[in-house]
Every structure is written in structure tokens, then in C-alpha cells.
Symmetry: C2
Subunit: 259 residues, 2 copies
């Protein structure tokens, strides 16, 4: 029987909300079995950029990453966000180990080719080092990944955290029973963005298409759903989008993703 | 027979000098056997502080670290400096794994008690988790430590990189044959700070005292030497202060520290 592993993605917004962060720390620390955390930090990166006089440039919700912006996201994601989470989890007895994709060569990426848009120092995951990751998991560490990868030739690359979570889940799925949870401040995918109770309990590619046509899926949710379908198609056992209380199995509502 | 491990400390100045950094990458990557890197980043932290309108406050060369300054050093040390070094070393075939003392609970520190000066969120090393560190070394990773620790209760602490290097060396010395190298842009401890050739080949506590009386030891060198003596007294096999070429055994001059 395969060992179970939970891959939890949280947004950077968690780090800006003390109450939510506390709730997360408790729920995540208490989770049994192997687990991996993936986190963002875009909100704070944009704030630091602005404070330093660099105007953040976003296209389709993705950051155009020149050399200066890469320094900013490296400082915020791998520095402030990652170490705040690691120290917080360690304080609650979770043996967290912070990582970027460059560390132990865990996630190698290809710099995104320039087509209509030059995203700059942005990478798409090419290869997850599952052997290295398994070594860390089996040694009792809880990997905490920030949204940075590398090209294996010395260059760090900015990489979307939702995609990293999906790619880690896909890479581990031949050897583990993998559950991927996109955890955020809402209860799940909403039919009406203004009604927090309007959670869609189950979503497959068919109703995704029709809901997308109706325009009820918010822009930020679309890449999360694409990543969810991509993960399921590659053999990931379960993908869920929902609130922190999911981690303790106490969410009254959430969205289960299906093919 | 004990396994050998080399602990190399470099200053943050290495990261600001492309030629020196390249030289370091080559020499460090080529070093055989177990090795650990410890790095600073104070120069860049002071620059980022100033850019953000926070005036860096230093006492006896140590940073007074309030909550805002801790964010700055966490971003610079654990983010920019650490991940730049890790990606650079990975690009040269060295399986670097970036760490703060919070990661895997590797270095726990005590917040420095307030006497004449309140250093703020500054910690002195209390306990190195040698078991966790050995696990990483034996798995084939090369740990790269930034100058941050934690108190085990959720709080990150700013900790001097020279001290971290000495404390790691001391903690590993019962199980390993440890060589501690303080690597910097000069050739060694200088008798005359304006003459780069005036390297003192060997230094013990006696001639340290007399040279200190003469006033020929520079202010920045004194804590390095205190850490060196402290490490030797605790059983560390060898402590050297010198240039990058030491790592490839090709340094024409360097300073050997002795008791």
C-alpha cells in the first residue's frame, strides 16, 4: 500500500492575517502523516517593490520578473514568508524545513520562452527531484516550499505557487497516495463571489467549462482549476479547494475537484 | 576514524563582488568530503534598510534588531543571499541546501538578555541539532546556513554568522574531525591593515593579547578571533583565517589559529 502525503498550498494572504495564520499553524501542525506546504507571498512582494520604487508589472495575474523584481520576490518568498512560516511551525512542534526549488536541486524549471509576452526570469517546472524530496520526507522533515525554482545553471526563476503545488503532487503520485489541497480564505469555489455560502461542492471539467462561459468563475480561480485538472489527469488521487478547517477534517463546505 | 567536515564562513562582501564570488563557487564546489557553508549579508541588509527609510543601528559592530530590522535581515540573509548562493553552487554541481537555524530546528538560540544594551531580536546559540545536521550531511546535501536562528517558540533571531560557524564546528567536533575556515577577501590576519602582505602566519591567545594591546588587530577581526579560540578550546581540530584559495589548498599565506 502506498504511503499517504498531503500537499497543502496557501496564499501569501495567510501571512498578512494573524488570526488566519494562527488557525493555519494549529491545523497544519496537527495533521498526521507526511505533508508538504507550498506558499505564495505576492501581495507582500508587490508592497516591497512599491516601497523600493519599482512598479510591479503584472500580466494575466503573473508578475513580469526582471532582475530587480527577482531580487524582491527572492527576499520576500524565500526570506520573509518562508522563514516566518518555518519558525511558526517549529514553534508548534512541526519539523518544518524551508525550501526553494534550487535547494537540493528539488525543482528544476525552464525559463518561459518569449512569445507575445516576455515574462522575464519566470520558469515553468521541468523536473521534480522526487528522490531528494523522498529523502527529506522519510527523514521526518516537513518541506515548506516557496514559489522559486532554478534552471540548474545558477539562475533562480520565479514560478507560480499553485503550479509548484500541482507539479509536486504529480511527481509524487507514482510512489505516494497524494492529496492536493488548495487552501484559502474562502470556503471553496463560489458560484457568486459576493456570497461566501455559494460554494460549488463538486467541479469537473464539464461544469467548469459551462461556469466559465457564464462568467461565474473568478479570474484568480481559473489557473487554480487548470492546475487541479492537470494534477488529476496525471494521477493525483484527490484535489480539493477550500478553507483551513479542511486540514482538520472539519470544513462544513469545500469544493472537490473531479475529472 | 572520524569523518572529516569542513565548515567555511564567508562574508556578505563575497556576494557583492562577481569575480570573488566566481572564485569562491569554483573552489568550494571542488572541495571534497563533507562541507558546510555559513554566510553573512550585513552590507546588503544595511543598504536595504536605508532604501526602506530604516536607519541601521549598530553597536560594537552588532545590529540592533527591532521587528522591522528582523524582516530586513530575514529577507536579505535567508532570501537573497542564501538562495543566490544555493542556485550558484547548484549550477556548479554542488548539492547545496539553504538553511536558517529555524529549518529542521537546526540551531536554537536564546534571545540575548538586556544589560547595558538592548540588542532586540538577537540570539546567542543555545543548541545545535547535530542529529538533524548529520542526517542532511549523510544524505549528500551541502548545508548553506544564513545568520538566523530561532527560539523554538516561533521567533526568528538575528545571530552573528562568525558565531554560528564556530557553534556548528563545536557541535560537530565530538563526532567529526572539524576544520573551521573563516574565509575573506584578505590573505589572513594582518599586522598592518594597510599592507596586505603583512599576514601573521600563526596566532595564539598569547600573541593575540599582545597584538591587541599594540592595537594592531582591527575591530572586525576581534570577534572572529574570539570565536576561533572558543572553537579550539571546545575541541575543534583546526581553525584558519584566510583567502578563498585556502579551499583549494593553494593559499600562499593565511593565519593558523592556535591555543
Amino acid at each position: 500500500m502506498k504511503q499517504k502525503v498531503g500537499i497543502i498550498k496557501i496564499g501569501g494572504a495567510f501571512l498578512e492575517d494573524e488570526k488566519l495564520l494562527e488557525k493555519f499553524y494549529s491545523a497544519f501542525s496537527a495533521m498526521e502523516g507526511l505533508k508538504i506546504l507550498v506558499h505564495g507571498g505576492g501581495q507582500r512582494a508587490s508592497k516591497l517593490s512599491t516601497d523600493l520604487g519599482i512598479t510591479p508589472q503584472m500580466v494575466h495575474g503573473r508578475r513580469i520578473t526582471d532582475a530587480k523584481s527577482l531580487e524582491v520576490v527572492t527576499m520576500v518568498y524565500a526570506g520573509w514568508a518562508n522563514k516566518t512560516l518555518v519558525a511558526g511551525l517549529q514553534g508548534r512542534g512541526c519539523n518544518a524545513l524551508g525550501l526553494s526549488g534550487a535547494d537540493a536541486n528539488l525543482i528544476r524549471a525552464l525559463r518561459r520562452p518569449v512569445k507575445d509576452i516576455d515574462y522575464g526570469l519566470v520558469g515553468d517546472v521541468e523536473r521534480v527531484n522526487t528522490e531528494g524530496l523522498s529523502t527529506l520526507l522519510n527523514a521526518g522533515f516537513t518541506p515548506v516550499f516557496c514559489a522559486l525554482t532554478h534552471d540548474g545553471k545558477g539562475q533562480l526563476l520565479n514560478t507560480n505557487a499553485d503550479s509548484i503545488a500541482a507539479d509536486l503532487a504529480m511527481a509524487l503520485s507514482p510512489a505516494y497516495e497524494v492529496r492536493l489541497i488548495y487552501c484559502f480564505e474562502k470556503q471553496g469555489v463560489l458560484r457568486n463571489v459576493n456570497d461566501p455560502e455559494s460554494v460549488i461542492p463538486s467541479m469537473d471539467t464539464d461544469n467548469f467549462k459551462s461556469l466559465q462561459k457564464e462568467g461565474v468563475i473568478s479570474a484568480g480561480m481559473i489557473p487554480k482549476l487548470f492546475n487541479s485538472f492537470r494534477a488529476l489527469q496525471a494521477g493525483v488521487d484527490q484535489v480539493i479547494i477550500g478553507p483551513v478547517s479542511l486540514l482538520s477534517g472539519q470544513a462544513p463546505k469545500y469544493t472537490q475537484i473531479q475529472l
